[in-house]
């Protein structure tokens, strides 16, 4: 069974007919040629397919495209908008937060989600009360433990974690200042 849906992907409106079984990830990759989100497992276990879905991070391999008609999707390729690179991109480059790069667009979208969630005061398993990690100016200061916890849905087999944490911390710090 097919259904027609419209997605706004990195600012561009795209209309397509999809088999109702098609995941959002496969709709992006195989139907629209948008290959910034990667498929590492197809089961919501690795985070490689993470995008910002209506502003929040989501694993697109676990979402059915037909259930997201009208959604606004931002991939790592669209994160910077009209700029060349987003501060997270630059931080990943500066800190060498990747090797093979396959988990990386997902890590970066996830990191964007983490920063936003922290700003909204969302707690994590590490610090139950977000106000405990608020800096003097009232902005949440994500320490390494917080970042590690919040980024743990994104696996990196190349083992770039210490560099990923440093990259996210650098951007978080820049924001809270």
């Amino acid at each position: 069974m097919e259904a027609e849906i419209t997605l706004t992907v990195d600012g561009a409106r795209r209309t397509l007919a999809v088999d109702t079984r098609v995941t959002l990830l496969d709709a992006l990759r195989e139907r629209l040629g948008v290959t910034s989100p990667k498929k590492g497992c197809g089961h919501g276990q690795c985070g490689a397919c993470t995008v910002l879905l209506d502003g929040r991070r989501a694993t697109t391999c676990l979402a059915l495209a037909v259930a997201h008609d009208g959604a606004r999707i931002t991939t790592s390729a669209g994160l910077a908008g009209t700029d060349e690179l987003h501060p997270l991109h630059q931080a990943f480059l500066d800190h060498d937060g990747f090797q093979c790069g396959y988990c990386t667009p997902g890590q970066i979208c996830s990191a964007a989600g983490v920063l936003d969630e922290a700003e909204r005061g969302w707690p994590s398993a590490v610090t139950a009360n977000i106000t405990d990690i608020t800096d003097t100016a009232g902005a949440p200061a994500l320490d390494a433990g917080e970042i590690r916890e919040r980024m743990s849905g994104n696996l990196c087999r190349c083992g770039a974690y210490p560099n990923i944490v440093a990259a996210v911390a650098a951007v978080a710090e820049g924001r809270s200042r």
């Binding site: 090797q99 790069g101 396959y102 988990c103 667009p105």
Partner: protein, 694 residues
């Protein structure tokens, strides 16, 4: 002696050439190649571990809208047999392991292909399978050689007699688990078979190696096959040799001439089709005199291979070369089982083979009343104990000392189970690392002067995340005497000069040497008068020093471990590795290589364990939820340092290879630290909570 290249660009922490493409996700990996009107292939796998397919029922699958064809052993295109049984799929009804390919569906969409594959049913004639690895088996056999082509057994003196006579001895059995490489990018191939021949966009560590492997099986001249891999999402060995799915993709493409076909293994399928590291059982024996000088070292290894194809992991090899001792013995015995085909995984041999001996060294240190660092220093050999050759350079002792200093080793309590902090037993441990310098003659590279005065460098190398795009640029810049900005690389295509796999930590050695040769010859030939379009290809001869020196990188790894007194939860708050691995071309990418290897070592120590269900012959935890690889929260402080080494014998860059040594010794350092923390000696990986609770 080779004249070492003068470093200008080399040594700089340059940002990755491919960095922006990767962080934005614009870099296109194998499956992401834009192709017109692709068809999708979904494999059908055997659901028994041994026997034969009697009938394949394909009617329901074929009747599904959108299915183009169903491949089975009855109708698949013929392959040339007798080359590689792993690759000779769909040629007979025999089933040699559960998960083996017995068919495939080709369909218009991936959803249809997958649904139809699920509708294919097979009737089998089952035979009893045998998948149990045990040192007690009476059919263990001695392979002719171990990977890559090393002696199976070595010996000198009399280890038994030395153990009987020694002041201090350790004799124990150590085991490592079955591990799966699990690169983040699943193995994938996009294949097109047309008048021009066969084009494969493949997720591979070596384009030429893939071509060499599949050409004879497909019965094609290798000139008719082109393999392309510009970006590859990791491999760690599993993409270093051809596995069956690439042949399946080629067969599907042959059935759909002129139409591209796309095949990506699912994560689950990778657990039976993409290779793995054999479990190992190591009987390690050490003997030492009163002063802690080793008089004997032995490692007798038992491991598995598949019945259809032998892979003999060289687990005993590091015991041959790391420490001095007059009496030595290493052996390898294999059980040939009805299991998937084992293969390369990061530092085959060295990685598991430094677990048993390095934990045994920790036990020996305690028995001798010596500090574990000091015990290792006391057993530094003057020449390579295995070959008798001098080392081209070796600085294990320097690594141990520098590591001890940086780690704060001297603050360590001598007795185990001495420190508890907030309910966590805390301790530290050390282990040595080593990895050989591999080189393969015959690598070629082309240097060409462009119209704008910049250079193009062409070589069929593949960057699987190592940083090859970047460091080969730096090497080429120094070899040509130009800034790195004036060098443009072309990689990852069999249309480029012949290059061996990104494996064995040999990429920089092989590819870098070829580029230096080409650059030097270019300068010699054209001098200052080179004009646009001038080009030269050079091929590397065998390293003349290989027969005169033993060439290895060394390192020392230090771990801090905390074990929760009530729950047994294990954490690794700190890892430090210090390496002597020749010259470091790019500190930024090198550091990532080292810490990446150490992270995988931590993952091996604490988490990874492919649980094999012997009743059915397959890995039950075959996904990333249940086969846990270290996640961000598992990794705290991991630091890598290196000592400067000037080695004029290894290659013109003075590099030794750094892709694998980081995983060697890590698990032993962690197990040793866990012992120091708790007094519980764990000889069987992984180090899990249950092992601390009684």
């Amino acid at each position: 002696m080779t004249e070492l290249l003068r470093p200008r660009s080399m040594g700089q922490a340059r940002e990755r050439v491919d960095g922006a493409a990767k962080v934005t996700g614009r870099a296109r990996y194998a499956f992401e190649q834009p192709v017109e009107r692709p068809a999708y292939v979904h494999p059908v796998q055997a659901t028994i571990a041994r026997g034969r397919v009697r009938t394949m029922h394909t009617g329901d699958a074929a009747a599904l809208d959108g299915v183009l064809t169903v491949l089975t052993p009855d109708n698949a295109p013929l392959l040339a047999t007798g080359h590689d049984p792993e690759l000779e799929i769909l040629q007979s009804p025999e089933v040699a392991f559960r998960g083996q390919l017995i068919g495939a569906v080709i369909a218009e969409t991936p959803e249809t292909a997958r649904q139809a594959a699920g509708l294919v049913r097979a009737d089998y004639e089952r035979q009893p399978h045998d998948v149990t690895l045990s040192p007690e088996r009476d059919d263990l056999y001695r392979p002719d050689v171990v990977n890559p082509s090393l002696p199976t057994d070595t010996g000198q003196g009399d280890v038994d007699a030395a153990l009987r006579a020694a002041e201090h001895t350790v004799a124990a059995t150590y085991t490592t688990a079955m591990y799966h490489n699990n690169p983040m990018e699943p193995h994938a191939t996009v294949a097109l078979w047309d008048e021009g021949g066969l084009t494969l966009h493949d997720s591979t560590q070596g384009v030429h190696a893939m071509r060499e492997a599949v050409a004879p099986v497909l019965g094609l001249d290798k000139e008719r096959i082109r393999v392309i891999a510009r970006y590859v999402g990791g491999g760690f060995g599993s993409k270093g040799t051809a596995h069956a799915h690439i042949v399946l993709a080629a067969l599907a493409a042959k059935r759909m001439p002129g139409r591209p076909v796309k095949l990506a293994l699912t994560r689950q399928q990778m657990f039976s089709l993409a290779g793995y590291r054999t479990p190992t059982i190591q009987r390690v024996r050490l003997a030492a005199d009163a002063a802690g000088r080793l008089t004997a070292i032995g490692n007798d290894v038992v491991e598995q291979t598949s019945r259809i194809k032998e892979f003999a992991e060289q687990t005993g090899v590091p015991a041959r070369t790391t420490y001095a001792a007059p009496n030595r013995r290493t052996t390898h015995r294999l059980a040939a089982l009805d299991v998937p085909v084992p293969s390369w995984m990061r530092a085959p041999g060295e990685c598991p083979g430094m677990f048993g001996p390095e934990v045994a060294m920790d036990e020996l240190a305690e028995d001798c009343g010596l500090d574990p660092v000091e015990l290792r220093v006391r057993n530094e050999p003057e020449t390579d104990p295995d070959t008798g050759l001098p080392f081209s350079s070796r600085d294990l002792v320097g690594c141990l000392h520098e590591g001890a200093r940086r780690f704060g080793w001297q603050r360590r309590e001598r007795a185990p189970r001495s420190r508890i902090e907030d309910g966590w037993w805390t301790g530290t441990g050390v282990a040595s690392s080593t990895y050989p310098v591999h080189s393969a003659p015959g690598t070629s590279a082309t240097v060409r002067l462009g119209r704008d005065g910049s250079f193009e460098v062409l070589i069929g190398a593949v960057d699987i995340g190592t940083g090859a795009w970047t460091i080969l640029t730096q090497i080429a810049a120094d070899a040509l005497g130009v800034p790195a900005e004036d060098v443009h690389l072309h990689l990852g295509d069999t249309d480029l000069p012949q290059a061996p796999v990104a494996g064995g930590s040999s990429g920089t050695t092989n590819w870098g040497t070829a580029i230096v040769e080409a650059a030097r010859s270019f300068r010699e030939k054209y001098g200052a008068d080179a004009g646009p379009g001038d080009e030269l290809i050079a091929t590397v001869p065998a390293n003349p020093h290989s027969d005169r020196f033993a060439m290895r990188a060394f390192g020392a790894q230090f771990a801090e471990v905390r074990v929760h007194a009530a729950t047994g939860e294990v954490r690794v708050p700190r890892l430090l590795g210090v390496f002597a691995a020749g010259r470091i071309v790019n500190p930024r990418t090198a550091r990532s290589q080292f810490i990446g290897g150490m992270t995988m070592g931590l993952s091996m120590a604490l988490h990874e364990d492919s649980v094999f269900d012997e009743r059915f012959g397959f890995v039950v935890n075959h996904d990333l939820a249940e086969y846990h690889i270290a996640a961000c929260a598992d990794v705290e402080s991991i630091e890598a340092q290196w000592l400067d080494e000037h080695d004029p014998y290894v290659n013109p860059m003075g590099t030794k290879g750094i892709g694998e040594i980081g995983i060697v010794g890590t698990a032993a350092a962690i197990a040793n630290a866990a012992y120091h923390a708790t007094g519980v000696r764990i000889r069987d990986l992984p180090v899990t909570a249950d092992k601390f609770l009684d």
